[in-house]
């Protein structure tokens, strides 16, 4: 799968040059290539435990001929469709908490709108360089980050108590009921303000940042953090996506093949999950992020256009 992805990306990187030289690349090749790449991304994203959006924007922005404006609009809608699809089951199972998500999503929504407006106002080169640096930072976080399955919260903070941010769920994996509460809510709201800004500006899904804040900073159990992260993402990305829709930065020829590709790929990824070593795939994801982040940075700096 990884070799196929690299081959397609190599072809895509050469594609714009071929077109510029008068090569006869038909328009319909691009949505098909996009479908193939997003299908592979869907598989890798599930196996690597990341959202498709964080891989989509740097890879498609770096190796396809589409302008970064349209790629970011499609990236947000891609992340949104995945989050919306997963949230109902997670909520019913208690693995996502609406009470926990609401205040954080509200802050993130406001800043994601600001981020989208700023992103659409920045010069393209500056935006691409900033995206490259952000993706390289995400790769570093993924390579070094830690997680805690069930952190202890000795005492919840006053704000989380007032907002009813506590609960319990049944974990079928252990057969136990897990009671949870959270701490450091004001600090988490500041963190989600920053995450929302990045999500709106770069069109990234933000699970890579949501989960550590919920898990390590607030002390929510890991499973609840993953589920609630998706719910927050569905609200935050909705806000930013509308800015791109209203600006005309949503091309159906990019959006629909990408959404279908990632969703079908994710289904295959779930089936492969049992037989694929997660640590190995995670290393591949980090490598892909390093390459695509480096490509975006070099593109932004005008070194590899």
């Amino acid at each position: 799968m990884t070799r196929v992805l690299i081959l397609i990306l190599g072809w895509c990187a050469a594609g714009p040059a071929v077109a510029a030289d008068g090569g006869a690349l038909a328009w319909w090749i691009w949505p098909i290539a996009l479908f193939a790449v997003t299908f592979a991304l869907g598989v890798v994203a599930v196996l690597g435990g990341v959202g498709g959006g964080v891989l989509f924007v740097p890879i498609v922005g770096g190796f396809f001929p589409f302008h970064i404006d349209f790629v970011r609009g499609a990236g947000l809608l891609l992340a949104l469709s995945g989050a919306l699809s997963a949230a109902p089951a997670l909520m019913r199972g208690g693995f996502a908490s609406l009470r926990l998500a609401m205040p954080l999503a509200l802050v993130g929504s406001v800043t994601s709108i600001i981020g989208a407006l700023v992103g659409l106002a920045l010069p393209t080169r500056v935006l691409e360089a900033a995206l490259g640096l952000t993706i390289l930072a995400i790769a570093a976080i993924m390579a070094t980050g830690s997680k805690s399955g069930g952190p202890e919260v000795a005492a919840p903070d006053a704000m989380s108590t007032a907002l009813g941010m506590h609960g319990a769920y049944h974990d079928p994996a252990t057969g136990r009921d897990v009671e949870w509460r959270v701490r450091r809510t004001p600090q988490a709201m500041v963190a989600f303000a920053g995450i929302g800004m990045l999500a709106g500006m770069f069109g990234l899904g933000a699970g890579w940042a949501n989960v550590p804040v919920l898990n390590l900073l607030m002390g929510a159990p890991l499973k609840l953090s993953v589920g609630t992260s998706g719910l927050v993402l569905s609200i935050v990305d909705t806000s930013a996506a509308w800015v791109y829709i209203n600006r005309g930065a949503v091309l159906p020829m990019l959006v629909a093949p990408s959404i279908v590709g990632v969703m079908l790929g994710a289904r295959i990824g779930v089936r492969l999950l049992r037989i694929t070593p997660a640590a190995h795939v995670r290393r591949i994801v980090v490598a892909v992020l390093l390459i695509s982040g480096g490509r975006a940075l070099l593109k932004g700096l005008g070194i590899w256009v």
Partner: protein, 137 residues
Amino acid sequence: MGLIVSPSAEQEVYARWLDWGTRIGLAAVVATFLAYALGVAEPLVPPERLPELWSLPVERYVALTGAPTGWGWLGLIGKGEPLCLLGIALMSSVTLVCYLRLVVALVRSGSRLSAGIAIAQVVVLLAATSSLLAGGH
């Protein structure tokens, strides 16, 4: 007294609305795209012109093609791309619809603080969906 591990009533309602809304939204995205890709709805921009246009910043693309901004696509709903935007807009409105239902559930249950947060979220989402917010390169 044992732990209550079942989700709250308002979470159940939100999940139910989200589930159905997402199904409808995704079906609309696929159906409208098929209508566009198969030529059932005439495209606003001929697909063979796309490779020379989709590498441009959105402002240039809009200026060269006359593609709609804001809610302008509603007036061109018979064309392929605006029809696709209907599907995309439906999917992107699911959260807003769920929050409107959530406000009702929270007000009825007397959760005034949470209802206030939900109302504030509805205001933010409405601001995002309005075409008042603009920016550009």
